[in-house]
Amino acid sequence: MVLEVKKPRPVWEILFSTHHTDIGLLYVYLALTAFIMGGALALVIRTELFLPGHQMGLVPDSTTFHRIFTVHGTNMLFLWLLPFASGIGNYLIPIMVRYKDMAWPKLNAVAFWMIPVGMALIWLGWSDTSWYGYPPYSTIRAPGPAAEMWIFGLKILGISSILGAINFVVTILRMKHPDLPLMKIPLFVWATLITSLMILVAMPTFAAALIMLYTDRLGVSGFFNPAMGGDPIAYQHLFWFTFHPEVYIFLIPAVGMVYEIVPKFSRKPIFSYQSGVTAFVLLAIVGFSSWAHHMYSTGMTFTEKTVFMVGTLAAVPASAMHVFNWMATMWGGRIRFRAPMAFAVGGIVLFFFAGAGGIVNTAMPLDFLTHDSYWVVGHFHLFVMGQITFSFVGFLLYFLPFITGRMYNERLAMVTFWFMFIGTSLIFLTQHVTGLYGQPRRTFDYVPVQPLIILNQISTVGAWITGTSAALLLANLFHSVARGKPANMDDPFGIGEKYYDYARREPHH
């Protein structure tokens, strides 16, 4: 914030700081770096698939291609989505609950500094297990030490997110200002609280699964190896028990950010605070009831499939309640379409398509059409790139004057938005059709028939457009941090309403 810009401090002072605003910004820098690096890999994947066959010179062989999408996926989920949400949380939660810092500042710093270690393991390991690391491939066939480094990298990231979550829960529940009742805290704080609680329930399961995977690789156990009496499907249950809820862990902070943006730029109070809280709680509970919808095709009985279909459908109304809440807030509001609002609304549109596609996957007979095809790639990217990344970028722009005291270039930001919106739609809406034509996911090449070639080319062009938008965003950030116009700190977006009450912020200690 203004303080930081006015008084430049030596880098080491920031690196060794335990102050929540410093840690928060470190998280944000790391996340943005990961976003750009992971995005570069996405462009390589899409460029390879522009034409059928092997594009000489770009990706040497299929194993390299598999390594690229493994690192792309792992990186985007664990080094872009999670750290960005933690960063904003670290910066804002103490301010929002009116406490001087996080409950345990040193633990907070430790949790952050584990992430670069995990990141190094994942990028240097360059594993080819795919981000889900299903055995037996990951235990008997995947080359080491890549797979080991991937396991340890994820292990460290998991521990870091558990430590971070404990800190958030304690800060919010115990350190909250006594004058501030739980039902008055901003919805973003609710989002962080719910996410952290979900992490505490879900993550330990995966931590156990990773250890079992590792001992299986060493050959000392055979949990997932049928040759030693194990069952590969058991891993899938452990994995999805963590990672289906995890998609809500990725999603909910983004929802919380949209709740910050939409009412402000609609210049209207939120339509229903209670409904927002209720929907968060519902999502957290129901998020755990649906994990095995990723596993219909593993040979489940009809009853099992039915149970998980019902569990999955049950999560839909809660998401729909959030969308309703946003629309009802915008309805009749005096909307100001500055870039943060554009990103939030664009994200909501893509969220709607992602949700509609998700219902198709849930309906058991249709899942056999879409499962493990490009349909799924299109569907989940509409969430992670569409809804979540759009909300994050919107929030970043919204947040920028707050931390730097400077304004980004509005016109460039709107161009960025349109590039990103059009690009993302081209890539991922198209991929739904690619999937219906039968193109499997995680594929280095495809059957050279006309429809598939054209569909893949549209996706790739979309990816280049999205890549351009990311470059524009970066340029805008660098430019505005160095040379942007000073923002009007009371009301940087001309909304006619006070911005964050940053004066309450505690000084560095």
Partner: protein, 163 residues
């Protein structure tokens, strides 16, 4: 909250829609899950990176499969090494091939021609080209050769294999 009613109506509509989708899916899946009793058995074995098929009469085929139009087939699918998935995109047939397990799926091929069988679960180096050819023949013919003219549908698999 004065504005709660409209939200309740909206949530009710969403839930009604989901119940409809769920019930319909349940009903269709219930029918699809029942293998016809007269179905012919084909044992499918996946391994890195090809498919082996064994007919009821003991005939084995590697990398290709001949079936007859209109006859229901039941596939018993398993794997020798890592996970694969047995997929015939043109007939929406999909089931994982998991080592140590035998999974079942059944289909009637209602159109003759040549189609694509592919692996849909990531299985390593040659996953992307773990393919086999499917020949669906008219019931009258007793030839197993694929060289005779067939009724080619303009499907992905057919075009890929003939083009």
């Amino acid at each position: 909250m004065g504005h709660a009613t409209i939200e309740w109506v909206y949530v009710a509509v969403v839930i009604a829609l989901l119940i409809y989708v769920g019930a319909d899916a349940w009903n269709v899946e219930r029918k699809l899950d029942e293998t016809p009793p007269n179905a012919q058995l084909i044992k499918v074995t996946a391994q890195q990176w090809f498919w082996t098929f064994e007919h009821e009469n003991g005939t084995q085929e590697i990398g290709q499969l001949h079936v007859v139009k209109g006859v229901p087939y039941r596939f018993e699918v398993t794997s020798r090494d890592v996970n694969h998935a047995f997929n015939i995109p043109d007939f929406s047939t999909l089931i994982d091939a998991v080592p140590g397990r035998i999974n079942n799926v059944w289909t009637i091929f209602d159109q003759s021609g040549q189609y694509l069988i592919q692996c849909r679960e990531y299985c390593g180096f040659s996953h992307y080209q773990m393919r086999a050819k499917l020949f669906v023949e008219e019931p009258s013919s007793n030839s197993t050769s694929a060289t005779k003219p067939v009724d080619l549908t303009p499907s992905v698999g057919a075009t890929a294999l003939t083009g």
